[in-house]
């Protein structure tokens, strides 16, 4: 078993380096999901870096594709491809695009970037697994702002109707979207009630506590015959003090002193 704490630390360092070297956006979004992705790739997901297309693997889809740096980092750190490749992220000629892409990248199930796509495709994969009585699960990680997209709610209705209890939606609920807060844009509350009323079982968790995350992600389905939603309360920009809870770091890239300060803070986390 890989230590999820150490994996999360490496993912954070990787994403700050990647977004700084490639001068790309969304470092705050990637830091927000670093712990979720680390807990998944440290042991929850049944995946094999030596055989990325293994038929019985768990499927993981990052629907909030703009945070793709975190998934690329996790895959590289888990050995799906060399860690050195991360340095090319978002640079001329690279296939590591700012929004996660499967082309040429072992371990990426689905390319995303436009919000509201991943849950439907994951639902189709979960349906296919039911058809062939396969035991693997499908995990889809969404952002909170992404839940503005109506297609997610179409998928939720479908998954509940077809009792896809092999489907897990994880929502990165950091309460900030592109321009301002969730509540200042399109409020999602009462979010748990909404999700439950769509026929899902909902588990709330602290999104940076590895014990809680591991418990929630390892206990699926939370209820038989129902798809599971793990509503993870997170902090955008988590672990870099000046990035936390700031809309600015949805777009800003750390350069110069900010870059050095961010690395210093992350390296000090042990």
């Amino acid at each position: 078993m890989i230590d999820s704490g150490e994996l999360a630390r490496r993912i954070r360092l990787d994403v700050v380096k990647m977004t700084s070297l490639g001068k790309s956006s969304h470092v705050g979004s990637a830091l927000s999901i670093a712990d979720i992705v680390a807990v998944l790739y440290a042991g929850v997901l049944h995946v094999d870096p030596a055989e990325p297309k293994w038929a019985d693997r768990d499927r993981f889809i990052l629907s909030k594709g703009h945070a793709g740096a975190a998934v690329y980092a996790a895959l590289a750190e888990r050995g799906f491809f060399p860690v050195d490749k991360l340095q090319t992220h978002c640079q001329d000629g690279s296939d590591l695009s700012g929004h996660v892409s499967h082309q040429g990248i072992p371990g990426v199930e689905l390319s995303t970037g436009s919000l509201g796509h991943g849950l439907s495709v994951g639902t189709g994969m979960a349906y296919a697994a039911k058809i062939r009585n396969a035991n693997h699960r499908v995990f889809v990680l969404l952002s909170d702002g992404e839940c503005d997209e109506g297609s997610n709610w179409e998928a939720m209705m479908f998954a509940a109707h077809h009792r896809l209890d092999n489907l897990v939606a994880i929502i990165d609920y950091n309460k900030i979207q592109s321009l301002t807060s969730i509540e200042g844009t399109l409020g999602l509350e009462p979010f748990v009630d909404k999700l439950k009323s769509f026929g899902w079982s909902v588990v709330e968790t602290e999104g940076h506590d590895h014990g809680q995350l591991h418990g929630a992600l390892s206990t699926v389905p939370a209820q038989p015959t129902k798809p599971t939603c793990i509503l993870a309360h997170t902090t955008k920009g988590k672990s870099v003090s000046f990035m936390e809870n700031s809309v600015l770091w949805h777009y800003r890239t750390a350069q110069g002193e900010e870059y050095a300060a961010a690395l210093k803070q992350l390296e000090e986390v042990a």
Binding site: G113, S114, S120, V121, M125, A126, M157
Partner: protein, 313 residues
């Protein structure tokens, strides 16, 4: 065409459990028999085309051969981004079936007039775009796109040219079918309006004007060689589609021929030029109203030949 499609799909589903049909809650009376026979290969996704296309992609990525089904624009336009990013980019075997090409649902209004689908769909990289002209082409195309890797679009018309299959003929995606030969002009046609074109060329033949007719059932990839031959051997090309002239069959043919050596000396796109139609009516009525009926084809060909000859002289 719709009935031939479901017949062929049923025949395929019987022998191949990978076949899946997903409807966006349409197909009353048409899909009942399929659903009864293949309950595990049928999903009604509800009135939710975006999710339907995502589900189809997920199933296809897991090895299924998926057909999504709905009326006219609903099946491709509402969910165009899902088709582009999810199905096509991942080369997923998702086959999008639009029932009611052109003015098939002419009386139902502009929401149901599928008149821009060919230009939109053919702009998507690696998507096969098929628009059969008769029932045989519709059935054959159904099977062909299932076997073709990646994503395809199949536009099915209410009208059909009738059976044009020649003895021993094999259908091939991307290969135009020559249904009539002639040296004066070539009519390049896509969709059920093929029947009107064949009638028009019969009348022209009686007047001593002999047109070649190509059924261009596959809009993408386009059969450039057949078009070059037609330009070289007949000199003039008229394209005919129940669709906007912007970027559809006519646009595709023009783009292709202008970049090749064999350019036609006479060229005309017959299609829709007047914007949205708020006028409703039967398919035949709307064809006549928008200059796509037999009389319009005959007079267009004759006037093009006359003016072309005048210029040549």
């Amino acid at each position: 065409m719709r009935d031939r499609f479901i017949e062929r799909l049923s025949a395929m589903a019987e022998h191949d459990s990978r076949i899946m049909l997903i409807t966006g809650d349409l197909g009353f009376g048409v899909l009942d028999e399929y659903q009864r026979r293949f309950p595990n290969q049928f999903i009604n996704a509800g009135v939710a085309e975006q999710n339907m296309t995502g589900i189809a992609t997920g199933l296809a990525l897991e090895g299924h051969i998926v057909f999504t089904y709905s009326i006219a624009n609903f099946v491709f336009m509402r969910c165009l981004e899902q088709i582009r990013n999810d199905a096509a980019y991942h080369r997923a075997n998702v086959n999008i079936v639009s029932i009611g090409g052109g003015f098939s649902y002419g009386a139902l209004g502009i929401s149901h007039h599928a008149t821009e689908d060919l230009s939109i769909m053919r702009s998507l990289p690696s998507v096969t775009v098929v628009c059969p002209g008769d029932n045989w082409e519709a059935a054959e195309a159904t099977e062909a796109i299932a076997h073709e890797p990646g994503t395809s679009y199949l536009r099915l018309d209410k009208s059909s040219a009738g059976m044009t299959q020649q003895p021993e003929e094999q259908f091939a995606l991307g290969k135009a079918r020559q249904l009539r030969d002639g040296t004066d002009m070539t009519l390049v046609v896509t969709g059920g309006i093929l029947g009107v074109a064949l009638n028009a060329t019969e009348r022209l033949a009686k007047q001593g004007i002999h047109c070649r007719v190509l059924s261009l059932h596959t809009i993408s990839p386009l059969d450039a060689d057949a078009l070059s031959r037609a330009a070289r051997e007949t000199g003039g090309i008229v394209t005919l589609e129940e669709h906007t002239v912007v970027g559809g069959l006519g646009g595709a043919v023009a783009e292709t021929l202008l970049e090749r050596e064999d350019r036609p000396t006479i060229f005309r796109r017959m299609g829709l030029r007047e914007g949205f139609s708020s006028i409703v009516g039967s398919q035949d009525y709307l064809r006549q109203r928008y200059g796509l009926d037999k009389d319009a084809i005959v007079s267009t060909v004759k006037s093009l030949l006359t003016s072309g000859l005048r210029k040549a002289g």
